[in-house]
């Protein structure tokens, strides 16, 4: 048990550190690399939760496919280091409008996080009941195609719409 706890802190440190590095430094390639590290840490946390399937799928889909495309794009655009714009260094009150909306959203997110953390003691009772469902692929597939059928189909329509949109946007320049 103590070893599990040690592993938890190890993976949690990688996840949190990686996520912080994504936003805390200005080289876009480093951001992509650190988000890959964060996803690997997250996958380690899933293993500790006895959900190896979710852990492996996390790596295949996010680290193995989506972020390779991110890296590809950043390399092709040859994005250099982002330099702080003048408004970025000024007082938040003098920044342009969208930044203020972002501040409101950030405050809301912080509030939500605080609420979740404050509820942790209540939630501990139910932990562990859902573990077998997450580790058995057969069960996961059955639940996905019966109970969550609607959400599943809606998600696939959304993804197709996004794909068609990307093709339309990219195709315009060629004509």
């Amino acid at each position: 048990m103590a070893f599990d706890l040690l592993l938890f802190y190890f993976f949690a440190a990688i996840t949190v550190g990686g996520s912080l590095l994504v936003v805390a430094q200005r080289n876009p390639i480093y951001s992509v690399v650190s988000i890959v590290a964060a996803f690997c840490g997250l996958s380690g946390l899933y293993v500790l939760l006895e959900a190896p399937f979710v852990a492996v799928v996390q790596i295949i889909i996010y680290a193995g496919a989506i972020l390779v495309l991110f890296l590809f794009t950043v390399m092709l655009l040859n994005a250099s280091r982002e330099d702080a714009a003048e408004w970025d260094r000024s007082h938040p009150y003098y920044r342009p409008g969208p930044t203020r909306v972002g501040v409101v959203l950030a405050v809301m997110l912080l509030g939500q996080l605080a609420w979740v953390v404050s509820r942790i003691p209540e939630l501990q009772a139910g932990v562990g009941d859902a573990a077998p469902a997450a580790s058995s692929v057969r069960l996961l597939g059955r639940v996905l195609f019966t109970d969550y059928m609607f959400a599943f189909e809606v998600t696939s329509i959304l993804i197709i719409a996004a794909m068609v949109g990307a093709v339309v946007l990219a195709g315009k320049r060629g004509n």
């Binding site: 390639i29 480093y30 690399v33 492996v56 680290a63 193995g64 390779v68 890296l71 590809f72």
Partner: protein, 356 residues
Amino acid sequence: MLETLMWPLRPPQNWWVAYATLVGVIFMALQISAAVMVYFERKVSAWMQQRYGPWLVGPAGVLQPIADIVKLFFKEELQPKAADKLLFSLAPIISVAACFVAFAPVPFGATTTFFGWLDEPLALQIADLNVGVLAFFAVSSLGVYGIVLAGWASNSKYSLLGGLRSSAQMISYELAYGMALATIVLLAGSMSFREIVDAQAGYYFGMIPRWNVFAVFPFGLVAFLLFFTAGVAETNRAPFDFPEAEQELVAGYHTEYSSMRFAMFFMAEYINMVTVSAVAVNLFLGGWHGPFLSPAYGWIWFLIKLAVLLFIYLWLRWTLPRVRYDQLMSLGWKVMLPLATVNLLVVAAGVLAFGL
């Protein structure tokens, strides 16, 4: 006196010591397999081109890879001035680490006590995961970062082009690769390598081995061909060796690398070949099952099958010319992906209807 001399050969005291020894042996064996593959690559290419190949160092040149390694150790470690220092040194480490970790869920023999030498039986595998096939797929898909980051961090045109080509190629072929894996997972009803191999024991009609290549003929065979072709593309080997096409890109993503960093990329390429072949043997060719030998000797069958597949790898490289880049992309997206999808759907329908 004799007892002292025999000390390294005495049986390990408990399971953990035996397991740690196994991990160490696999780690060393993978590194040695890279050296052996380099030797055979040179010998087989020489044989196919009616040359002698390496012959000077040791009998029939068998010590040539060791000479090469020693040479690489003493070379100067060069780094371009404009290179990204951190990622330039990180890239070869990612490549090598990914190719070693990818071998962890791959078994190569039945659980054995080595004829009572060990007290407890030991599985010839580092980690028996119940999602082993997916774990192998996940880790090998991380290997692309080593290549892409090497291409970018070198800050050189040839390297960048090699890295970009490599990522495009790996993304394109990963789909067909994954679908071929999914076909086998459907047939076996499991994602654990050990269970998939054990499901392939025995014979159809008492003569044809129950291997997945021959399962629901010809769909198993199609899946195997798709898997192996995509595997050649994933390991960047000829005829799909675009990321390092010598004639156009000098050496592709490792143009700027020298000494041991170059050796790490080189080793990663050869170990990836060994891993892909080992996975193909487990999933399609019945793993360690074979006639004439008791299961305790199964790893001999495994090594024979592995050697055959690795020879095919070399054979392909020295026979086929490199395909054109647009041909590579259209083969991946317009031929292999539809074929893999249809194959998967037919097998899935068969499993659903007849419970194969």
